[in-house]
């Protein structure tokens, strides 16, 4: 575990990409195979499920530290992380151990089915022989919350260096439905068995946001425009007579969307499509909130299937007749996609996402302004001769979202953040005026710089009117411009509205609270 803790510290202590890749490469060159395999699994989000409830962990930790539970609960929000809080309050370790990462992972997997007394004994025993960083990691692994500030891309790069394999190829090998219990390091990285996993997806190609005017992209005739849908990115795989649906987060979500079982009847085997999963009614998408009801559910009740049926709006073809065609230009992939989907009936739940025709950038700029009418959140721009790359790459694909809707609102409640933002007030509730009263309508957490958060934090401390647990009511004084992607009716909220992706655009130092917008102004933005 010490080697893995050292790796974690090295990654945590630097913001340099090169230093991170170097630390990872070093680990992949020196660690034992089972540890490497677990490291890849953990850094690619393949965490084991929570083995112990956090309620028990808090109790055991407080007991071992000799403090009352309430004091633990008061300390936790200030530290900002449960695993870290436990690691910090426990007395120093009394013993040492040389158990490796994979030993500990085996131990954690053994705990899941164990009874509570043996779990407690094992956890207390572990805490007693681990140092602070190791304890922190152990707790993270135990609670299923292990995340680390390294992208899968950097991990893949380091692994490809350590094993002398091409990066895109490595990215593809790491995809799919494996866990450290179902494979070995050798099979995963070195075995060339292509039949190993017919469900294995291709790495998604991700676009950057377009910041400059589209004119900078060159000739319009080199580009294809599509609507940018507000759903979830999905990869539909038809292989071996069955189908698999993957989310961008590399989660296999086949069972949540049974609609796609029918696609096997209408599309040839050995086909892989990239597109957007949307809740769909007749000929248009339903609001994201409808799709959201489906995302969280592992099984879908009949009523929900009827109320919020989904489709895949397909916009790319990655595998055609068993051939990986990602290297072919978009124009060719698009032509093949259209041929493939030309005759497909509506019950297949797969619909091609249309190309948006345009002759010059001004026309397209005008079309983009109508995105909300088209139930889209903007446009995608894709270079016609571009291959389908792996990961987020600049140059060939751009997302060109419409400007957000905005409203000026008054901050009325503040709450401190978690993790990196613990000790800073970062979570705010905003209100607009209605008949002389401030009505809360949204929360927002992001959009300010660290310096602005520090400033507002100092202000909140001095201007707290009342406390409700961790939430502070503050003097209604500061106005913020709130940006959001959409607004819909919501009987559950006092204001009667719910926003999509609310965030702070800027701090309006120039506006007094009395000049913030009203609820009527907000409702006027409804579609």
């Amino acid at each position: 575990m010490q080697a893995f803790a050292d790796l974690f510290n090295a990654l945590d202590q630097t913001t340099s990409t090169n230093a991170k890749v170097a630390a990872l490469t070093d680990y992949f060159e020196t660690a034992a195979d089972p540890d490497k395999l677990w490291c890849i699994a953990l850094f690619s989000g393949r965490r084991p499920k929570r083995a112990v409830t956090t309620t028990r962990l808090r109790e055991w930790a407080a007991e071992r530290a000799g403090i009352p539970l309430w004091l633990f609960e008061e300390t936790y929000p200030i530290v900002g992380d449960l695993s870290e809080t436990i690691a910090l309050i426990l007395p120093d370790a009394t013993r040492q151990t040389n158990r490796t990462l994979s030993d500990w992972m085996d131990e954690i997997l053994r705990l899941t089915p164990a009874d509570e007394d043996s779990r407690k004994e094992a956890v207390l025993d572990a805490w007693d022989c681990l140092n602070t960083t190791e304890r922190f990691l152990f707790n993270k692994l135990l609670t299923g919350g292990f995340r680390v500030g390294v992208s899968q891309k950097l991990m893949t790069r380091a692994l490809s260096r350590a094993t002398d394999t091409e990066e895109a190829q490595m990215a593809h090998r790491l995809m799919g439905n494996w866990t450290p219990e179902t494979t070995t390091f050798h099979d995963l990285i070195h075995a060339q068995d292509t039949e190993a996993d017919q469900s294995r997806p291709y790495p998604f190609y991700l676009a950057y946001g377009l910041e400059d005017a589209p004119e900078a992209l060159g000739a319009p005739s080199d580009w294809q425009a599509e609507w940018k849908w507000d759903g979830i990115r999905g990869q539909l795989i038809l292989r071996g007579g069955t189908h698999f649906l993957w989310s961008r987060g590399e989660e296999l979500i086949t069972d949540r969307f049974p609609e796609f079982a029918r696609s096997v009847d209408f599309l040839p085997d050995c086909t892989v499509l990239d597109g957007e999963v949307l809740a769909w009614h007749e000929d248009k998408p339903l609001p994201f909130s409808e799709l959201q009801k489906r995302i969280g559910r592992k099984t879908v009740p009949k009523k929900l299937l009827k109320d919020a049926p989904v489709v895949l709006r397909a916009y790319d073809l990655l595998e055609h007749a068993g051939e990986d065609i990602r290297d072919k230009p978009l124009a060719e992939r698009r032509a093949r996609l259209e041929t493939l989907l030309a005759e497909i009936p509506p019950e297949a739940a797969v619909i091609p996402s249309p190309v948006v025709p345009f002759n010059n950038w001004q026309t397209l700029t005008d079309i983009r302004e109508t995105s909300r009418d088209a139930h889209a959140e903007g446009l995608m721009l894709k270079r016609l001769d571009s291959p389908y790359l792996a990961g987020r790459k600049k140059g060939d694909w751009w997302k060109w979202k419409v400007d957000p809707l905005t409203i000026d609102a008054v901050m009325i409640y503040a709450q401190s953040g978690h993790g990196r933002r613990a000790n800073l007030f970062t979570d705010f509730t905003f209100a607009v005026w209605n008949n002389g009263e401030l009505v809360p309508f949204t929360k927002a957490y992001s959009g300010l710089t660290d310096a602005e958060f520090r400033k507002i934090t100092a202000w909140v401390r001095k201007n707290t009117l009342q406390r409700f647990g961790p939430v502070r009511q503050v003097t209604p004084e500061h106005v913020f411009e709130i940006g959001f992607e959409g607004i819909m009716d919501s009987p559950r909220h006092k204001s009667g509205v719910a926003l999509r992706f609310p965030r702070m655009i800027r701090w309006r130092h120039d506006k007094p609270a009395s000049e913030a917008n009203t609820l009527d102004d907000l409702r006027a933005l409804m579609p």
Binding site: D12, Q13, T14, T15, A65, I67, P68, W70, L71, F72, E74, T75, I78, V79, G80, D81, E84, T85, L88, I89, F136, H418, G419, R420, R421, A422, N423, L424, D450, R454, T457, A458
Partner: protein, 340 residues
Amino acid sequence: MRADPVLTFTDRGIYCPAGDFYIDPWRPVDRALITHGHSDHSRWGHQHYMATEAAAPVMHHRLGDVAIQTTPYGAKTQIGAASVSFHPAGHIPGSAQIRIEVGGEVWVVSGDYKPEPDGLCESFELVRCHAFISECTFGLPAFKWAPQSVAAEEINGWWAANAAEGRFSLLGAYSLGKAQRLMSLLDPSIGPILTHGAVEATNEVLRAQGYPLPATTRVTGDLDVKAHTGGIVIAPPSAFGTPWAKKFGRAATGFASGWMRLRGVRRRRAADRGFVLSDHADWPGLNDTIRATGCEKVFVTHGYTEIFNQWLLSQGYDSAIVATEYTGEGADTDDVAEVD
């Protein structure tokens, strides 16, 4: 117990009616007894100051030509009906706890304090009392400091590794106290120690008093940077990211503070490294000190006052919170979080 308390808490500061004086007041008063030279405790504008002989030079440096009556540690001074003495607080050079005795009852105002000796400032002295006025900047069980030698080893290891790569190490520290403590922990065989002007000005005052500080070079406009490659630069954190810091090229950056115990704060500071080193008492330090004073009453001033007060009450102390203006948001602290 007497009917009148030895100290009362007013909107100007902590006040002693029997001696008609204030301790570390934050509004101008006639007579102010000062625990130490940090700006949230030693403010400008009082008529008469009283402080330790060791604290006075820095106060003159910061406040100018003010009237300061000085006293050696441990000596008793009668002020009205109160007998007053200053005792080392272990926070920074010259820092003191102030003991006030009126009619046989003893109260101690600890100011900021650190029980662990650091080899530079006068070591903390335990003063038994009936009532103890305590800070609780780090009054949570998550705050526990490793011995100072651990931080020293980490800092020197970091510096040596940077020096081996031909990089400067830029170490952020408050210019009075933390900066000098860090210097005294550095291993000068690794390379040259450079200082920001604000730090060096304080160094000069403390050196003249006889505090043992290593040799340092002030960073001036005409400094030959190349000749000092691999050096460590001690500067206030506010100097980071300024044109001043640019002359050191791709320097590695670090901070030393008790807050660095928290990963969230470490990451937020966007420095390469955070070292856990504080001039305040940690959780065991606060608890052990309060217990050892034998006090019955505790007043907690700044820090996690509500939580720490609730904890003390649950431990059977007659404890209360006192609202003060000792905070980290003073004019010359750069870090909202830490009260130095």
